[in-house]
């Protein structure tokens, strides 16, 4: 799904340049139908999606997001964080891991869970990948996954394991858990060694996540 936006975004940029049109915020408007379709496709899990533009790519805005969310009832709403660098509430996405990781590596990035202050203000994970035109970095395409939605999905799957399971990210932060010993958002550090010893760890294919299953 995200790869589709990334490709379409690159095509839009290439197309505009080909006919000599300046790149503007409005140039990205055609992405909206693909974004809306993706949000409608996975309403359980995905609460937001779109593209986040590389600095100074657009002529009429140094920073910009074409990102829509479904956190409120009704049609998808555009996310409009504070993009004023002089403001203390400046949403500096160029420093966000979900922006820098795909930019600096060739890989998809899964960041979170985190409280998205100034963005959705929700607790969620963000999945992103780089949008490139050749080697040129255009920004990222991505989707937000609310932690509650993810918990429900994980619960269905881990029930089949017949044992307690904890899903953690690379930082050791609990994303979902079927045991009260590890709350979502908690950091399982070395101090939780006894707990970790009681679980066997297995990597999740294709994602920077680890599933700890009680022995």
């Amino acid at each position: 799904m995200i790869a589709r936006f990334a490709t379409e975004y690159a095509e839009i940029v290439a197309g505009a340049r080909h006919v000599g049109d300046p790149l503007r915020r409005a140039t990205l408007a055609p992405l909206r139908s693909a974004i809306a379709a993706a949000l409608a496709d996975e309403p359980r899990l995905v609460t937001g999606a779109g593209v986040v533009v590389c600095p100074d790519l657009l002529g009429d805005a140094p920073l910009w997001l074409e990102w829509w969310t479904t956190s409120a009832p009704g049609p998808p709403q555009p996310l409009r964080p504070n993009l004023d660098p002089a403001s203390v509430w400046f949403y500096d996405y160029t420093e966000a891991e979900w922006f820098t990781a795909p930019r600096d590596t060739a890989q998809r990035s899964l960041v979170g869970p985190y409280v998205d202050i100034g963005g959705t203000n929700d607790y969620m994970l963000t999945l992103t990948m780089a949008a490139r035109l050749g080697t040129e970095f255009l920004g990222v395409a991505g989707a937000d996954i609310a932690i509650d939605s993810l918990e429900l999905v994980v619960r269905q799957h881990t029930r089949r394991l017949g044992a307690h399971a904890i899903l953690v990210n690379t930082e050791g932060r609990v994303i979902a858990s079927s045991t009260g010993q590890a709350h979502p958002g908690a950091l399982l550090s070395a101090s939780r060694a006894p707990l970790l010893e009681r679980h066997s760890a297995s990597a999740c294919p294709g994602l920077p996540l680890t599933l700890l299953v009680a022995r």
Binding site: W89, R173, L187
Partner: protein, 256 residues
């Protein structure tokens, strides 16, 4: 208004509708606070009146009245026509008269009560942040504490402190704490940064103390010290409440 019994009077006081004035005050206060905190920027367009009334959960009439007040204060401007709408005119610094008026109108009891709430909120947020904070978030708190120390105007200090407090709640991985912290900041965050009766040195001392207090809080969070972080946050909240009460009495002393 005649009541059949005292019990009826109590029921109305508890369950009766909010007086219209109370609601208009609340709306105006919320928007003023959001503008002062920098959440709505200069030149930014407010949502349409209908959309704003719906999202605030108030009647369009109350909203309109609140906007009339903000217009009179010079905080918003409404332009008609094609590219019309209501736009924010953010002042360069805090609107002292308005804040002094609001602080004057509160009682010492209300200030202390809000201080208790603030202590409970920021204390828990700090403790949880120390337990759950990532290294990157801790570094951000250090930087924000530094921003507060370097802030020179009352408005800059208010915004830096507000951002810091919300960020602590975010580091605690808590949506609710962040939301409540933001509401508290909007409601009562600005007043503590006022200079009243020309007492500039007091304001400077308060700024220095709070900067140091937030710096120590950031350190406690970063070093994973939950008890120390909570204690520090509660003391910061207490210092702020003491400051508010002090300013409140100073304003009262001003009256003839």
């Amino acid at each position: 208004m005649p009541f059949a019994s005292p019990a009826d009077a109590v029921r109305v006081a508890v369950f009766g509708p909010l007086g219209n004035q109370a609601r208009v005050d609340a709306i105006a206060g919320r928007l003023r606070g959001a503008i002062a905190l920098g959440l709505i920027g200069n030149g930014e367009q407010l949502p349409s009146e209908d959309r704003l009334a719906t999202s605030l959960g108030v009647s369009p009439v109350s909203l309109r009245e609140a906007l009339v007040r903000l217009r009179a204060d010079g905080l918003v401007q409404t332009r008609r026509g094609n590219r019309g709408g209501t736009f924010v005119l953010a002042p360069a610094d805090l609107v002292t008269d308005r804040l002094e008026h609001d602080l004057n109108a509160m009682t010492a009891y209300q200030l202390r009560d809000l201080g208790d709430l603030r202590g409970a909120l920021s204390g828990t947020a700090a403790r949880r942040a120390a337990e759950r904070c990532s290294a990157k978030a801790a570094a951000r708190l250090d930087a924000l504490a530094g921003s507060l120390a370097g802030a020179r105007t009352a408005s800059e200090r208010y915004r830096a402190a507000g951002r810091f407090c919300v960020e602590v709640a975010a580091a605690a991985q808590s949506v609710r704490l962040a939301q409540l912290e933001l509401e508290l900041q909007i409601t009562i965050g600005a007043m503590a940064w006022l200079t009243v009766n020309g007492a500039g040195r007091d304001a400077k001392t308060f700024h220095a103390e709070m900067s140091e207090g937030y710096r120590q809080l950031a350190t406690a969070v970063g070093s994973g010290d939950p008890a120390g972080a909570r204690d520090r946050a509660e003391r910061n909240a207490e210092r702020t409440t003491d400051r508010l009460v002090e300013l409140h009495y100073r304003l009262l002393d001003r009256l003839p």
